[in-house]
């Protein structure tokens, strides 16, 4: 059992900058938990607080139910992989991996057995005699993982470990890392700013924004039901379209100068009951279709069609804002850039947000 709990953790840096604000979180035993957020959102600080490299200004940190807030890193039994991998340049690969065991006084034979075991697991047996300088980025990455693995820590902490790798290697390492973590069942907290990485690897994701935990949930939950406009605009590629509109007090629809968008009846009622007159309508590009201009439906002009390989994304200019719509090749052919089009949104997939708080209407 290695469960990590944060209880109302706040970190204020000198000068009054809040890196983390009142964060409570429990990472379950064996879970792959990703902290996701743009740079400066406080995710790395949070990770360093768990590692013991920073002290929280207030709040407590528990590992396995033990309060470790005041313990130095070496007494927490966590292992960390750094963004730069932080290999010891003066030690050979073997000694790098053996280091955590050596300083704990593990017997020589045992060290040798475990170093070779981990090296084999990561496929770096052939590199043990080299110095870090002689390794490629991917190889260094594996050595860093091996060093973090070798002593069976309770928790694995990773700070953007893949961001210094090239794109192909990165995708490859994602899979491998995930496989390794599942096999070993180590509780893992992984920091990244890459939402695709988070989606691909996480059991659960915590999205952070300006020091606040915006939403915690499985990748699917977060994608389907973003808790607020920040999460909505941060997750997904391209992200959710957000259009501010007036709430029609009679019919279930939202009105913009360019036309209306259909809303699901229950959400419309909820919003109206809350007394909202303006709402932010959120809808994903794949839940939207283009049609020839007709009636009062929201209209716009196709500006450009992006080719993402498997998908085509039509950029529709609506009242000076861009709305993204996923289209098929045949649809794209029908609406070349410069043509007018109406937009049909699947009402069942529409989310409504409160424009003043940013929160989803049905969660408030």
């Amino acid at each position: 059992m290695a469960e990590v709990s944060l209880e109302r953790v706040t970190k204020v840096f000198p000068g009054g900058v809040y890196a983390c604000r009142d964060i409570s979180l429990t990472v379950r035993d064996g879970e792959f938990f990703v902290l996701l957020g743009p740079s400066g959102s406080g995710k790395t600080t949070l990770l360093r607080i768990i590692a013991g490299l920073e002290r929280p200004t207030s709040g407590r940190v528990y590992i396995d139910g033990v309060d470790v807030t005041d313990l130095p890193p070496r007494k927490r039994d966590v292992a960390m992989v750094f963004q730069t991998w932080a290999l010891y340049p003066h030690m050979r690969v073997y000694d790098n991996i053996a280091f955590p065991l050596r300083i704990r006084g593990v017997p020589r034979g045992e060290i040798d057995r475990r170093v070779r075991e981990v090296a084999k697991l990561l496929g770096i047996e052939g590199l043990l005699d080299r110095y870090p300088r002689q390794l490629s980025g991917g190889q260094q990455q594996r050595v860093a993982l091996a060093r973090a693995l070798v002593r069976n820590p309770k928790v694995w902490l990773m700070d953007e470990p893949l961001s210094n790798l090239d794109a192909i290697l990165r995708v490859h390492m994602r899979v491998e890392l995930k496989r390794l973590q599942r096999e070993l069942g180590i509780t893992t907290i992984y920091v990244t700013h890459d939402q695709a990485e988070a989606m691909a690897m996480a059991d659960r994701v915590g999205v952070m924004n300006q020091g606040v935990m915006a939403q915690v949930g499985s990748p699917q939950e977060i994608y389907d039901n973003p808790a607020d406009t920040f999460v909505a605009s941060f997750i997904g590629n391209p992200p959710m379209n957000l259009v501010e509109a007036d709430l029609d007090q009679e019919l279930p629809r939202a009105l913009t100068p360019a036309g209306y968008i259909d809303l699901p009846e229950d959400l419309h009622r909820l919003a109206r009951d809350r007394g909202l007159s303006r709402v932010v309508v959120g809808f994903r590009p794949e839940d939207t279709a283009l049609a020839p201009p007709s009636g009062d439906r929201i209209k716009g002009r196709v500006v450009v069609v992006e080719n993402l390989g498997s998908d085509l994304i039509a950029n529709l200019e609506v009242e000076g804002a861009i709305v993204k719509v996923r289209v098929t090749r045949s649809t794209a052919a029908r609406f070349p850039p410069g043509s007018e089009a109406s937009m049909i949104v699947d009402p069942a997939r529409v989310k409504l947000f409160n424009p003043s708080t940013g929160k989803r209407v049905d969660l408030e």
């Binding site: 490299l53 890193p73 292992a79 730069t84 010891y88 340049p89 050596r102 300083i103 870090p132 902490l157």
Partner: protein
Amino acid sequence: MPLGDSLERFAPHLFLFPALALVALFIVVPLVWNVYLSMTNFKLVGPTARDYDFIWIDNYVELLRDEIFKRSVWNSFLFTLFSAIIGQVVLGLVLAVVARASLPPTPLGRLLAAARTLALALVFASWVVPEVVAGYAWAAATEKGGLVSSLLGLDYRVYAEHPLASIIVANIWRGTAFSMILFIAAMEAIPRSIYEAAEVDGATPLQRFRYIILPMLAPVILVDFILITIWTFNVFTQPFMMLREATGKEVLWTIYVYSEAVKLFDPSLAAAAANIMFVVVLSMIVVYLVLLERVGVWQRA
């Protein structure tokens, strides 16, 4: 072979020529000249200023026969060992570690930090003070009734009774700042994540120093050794200011050379002494370079 081709082939050597010529002019020629000079009886004044003879190794024989010279060389060696290698490097390293240690943002921590800043400024100042001034200051401090003498509770002229120890301490005082600055810079160059990785890997502060900082600084430490060994072996002003000729000539070879050669306008004897010391220092440096090759292998891997 057309002219253009051969020109192209030799052009790189041609471009090297000015640099090589300068090296020859300013390093090789003086070196050879010094060896030649040391084998003559040339003096700046008197009849041998005009007509000097080649006397082979007489100057060297004279030096090696001189008990005071031999004593001064041995003492210079001890002086370098204790003041440069042990004193400045070890103390410089300790100060560098202290300078970088993080202190808690409590009132006491802030007080300590301020005291540390002041102390480091003083260390640095000792390096900036002109040597002559520093020499006089130390002579005064180790006088009978001087600051250092009184603090030690010694009622005599400390620099006269313990000349070697006095100039060792004074030289450590003066030279440590250089090593400290060098080590601070080298430690700054180690990425913070390396320290943190070691911390998370479970190393105690002492283990971090022993296994991470020290081996990573080793090449810099050796370079520091090389530099300060040369400087310390050739140091003159501050010890001379403290000991002058009477005591100094038995303690430092540079003061011996001053006493025997410079004062008597005898450059050939001075050249012989300088050549002997050149060989001594060179052999020490060769040892360092061999060590450097060993400890720095990871840097060139």
